[in-house]
Amino acid sequence: MENPIISIRNLNLYFEKQHVLKNINIEIPHNKVTVILGPSGCGKTTLLKTLNRLVDLHDHVKISGKIMLDDKDILVPNIDVTGIRKKMGLLSQKPSPLPMTIFNNVAYGLRINGLRGKRKLMPLVEKHLREANLWDEVKDRLRDPASRLSIGQQQRLCLARGLAVNPEIILADEPTSALDPISSTVIEQQFAELKKHYTIVMVTHVLRQARRIADHIVFMYLGEVIEQGPAREFFNNPKEQKTRDYLKGAFN
């Protein structure tokens, strides 16, 4: 692959004695939607959280291998973890707006980066809310607590919040699984739009969704990568028997 934005080499991860990720080698292309596909419990979410080092929060995690981001290994102990996290916006399964107003949710990341003053913040907040296709719905209620939005709106708010720190990559962990079909469609459309400027890595176990939006697929099963490649090839011409079984719906 021509200069992938992330390449993972020989990644192994243990929770206590449990071998969760087994010898993972993945390359993630620049400005494309990469979907990590696989049945529940195969380590997809763990892989995603390893990318922005959120696995650090758990006790008793052991990691070996390399994750190269812009030619730097982000798993080395003395790296600036907050710097890595800023490069990757995270969209989690259940939207988790911060306990503050809609405006402050988006402004949070900006303030952390040292931006102050409403006059400077306002245009940026608007820009990112527009990027997440939420501006028209919330422009009159920016002072409301974020928790009053619908779940679908909350997820788009989380997207806007993530975009506000100018990430290069958007990590999305089944971002539509808690949403109604219409909100899901909005998020998917937004991803198609956003991939012009961002690399998107999305975890899902919904095959149809993967078919709709993936450019590149990584198929995982029980902690191993079974197959990876461009989406069309993966769906039309799978190489591994496991992939064929999965596509046929033999297991979920």
């Binding site: 959120l54 989690s92 607590p145 919040r161």
Partner: protein
């Protein structure tokens, strides 16, 4: 027949449950009524204004001004809370977000033991350690002269007694902050401390306020430990190194003794009434603050 027995049992047990619940509901009302009833005499003779705001305390002459006692109580309580608040907040944050699981498991029984120590032991410890410490070290340090039996000693003893009580509530509260919100903040590039400050503390603010309000109510009513270290001299304290005489100490020291003095009994009941009202007000106010803050989140 069998069904009739079952039904009757059901009715009886339901009535019993309701009755017990009623008792709990009536208890504060009964206490309030009896205190009001007993203190009515002194209220009628002296008037509420005089009782609360006069500082003349001459029971023999029938003059009961509770101002020195009320001020002592407020002084000791507020001082105790001010000393203990940052300690509790920071330890709770440390135990929830920084300490390892082993550390927390090690500290939990220690906190519980502290919570279970009888207050008279805190009082003895206060007399042995805190009082000399205040008298010989702290007072000269700030240019005061003091025996050590003082408002400050009371505040310090209270602060220590409040730690396990408030700390346990705070830890519970911080544990209810969703993991995902902390992760969301961290994944935006916020540092750990920023995430704690802006997400965990902000989200827990209503709970933190109520924890402190509960602590305040408890501190206000704490009797024996405070009584042992504040000196119990009637007078309005001018500095933390002065002696004080809080309301609960007044009641505990005098009730059952100088009751031959006319109206003394009634005056002490009035003190108890004030105590009760203050604690109830704390509770209502903190409840209001919590509701207000939860609405804004």
């Amino acid at each position: 027949m069998y069904n009739f027995v079952r039904k009757t049992k059901d009715t009886i047990s339901e009535a019993w449950v309701k009755f017990v619940l009623m008792l709990i509901f009536l208890l504060p009302l009964v206490i309030l009524a009896s205190l009001l009833n007993k203190s009515w005499m002194v209220i009628q003779t002296s008037g509420i204004g005089d009782l609360l705001f006069s500082s003349v305390w001459r029971p023999m002459a029938g003059q009961f001004g509770f101002k020195p006692f009320i001020i002592s109580s407020v002084y000791v309580t507020v001082l105790g809370l001010i000393i203990t608040a940052p300690v509790c907040l920071l330890s709770a944050i440390y135990l929830t977000y920084y300490g390892s699981k082993r550390m927390t498991a090690f500290m939990q029984p220690i906190i519980d033991i502290l919570a279970g120590i009888p207050s008279v032991i805190y009082g003895v410890w206060g007399v042995l350690i805190i009082v000399p410490f205040t008298g010989r070290f702290l007072a000269p340090l700030f240019g005061y002269e003091s025996t050590g039996f003082s408002i400050l000693s009371g505040g310090l003893v209270l602060a220590v007694m409040l730690i396990p009580f408030i700390l346990n509530i705070l830890i519970e509260i911080f544990r209810t902050v969703p993991h995902e919100q902390m992760e969301a903040s961290l994944s935006l590039g916020a540092s750990k401390w920023e995430s704690i400050k802006h997400v965990a503390v902000r989200r827990s603010l209503p709970g933190i306020v109520s924890a402190f309000a509960l602590g305040l109510s408890r501190a206000f009513g704490e009797t024996i430990a405070v009584l042992m270290v504040v000196g119990n001299v009637v007078g309005i304290p001018r500095s933390p190194f002065d002696t004080g005489y809080p309301l609960p100490a007044l009641i505990a020291n005098n009730y059952g003794e100088m009751l031959s003095i006319p109206m003394f009994d009634s005056a002490l009941m009035f003190a108890a009434l004030v105590l009760l009202m203050v604690v109830v007000c704390f509770n209502l106010m903190s409840r209001y603050v919590i509701i207000f803050m939860e609405k804004r989140q």
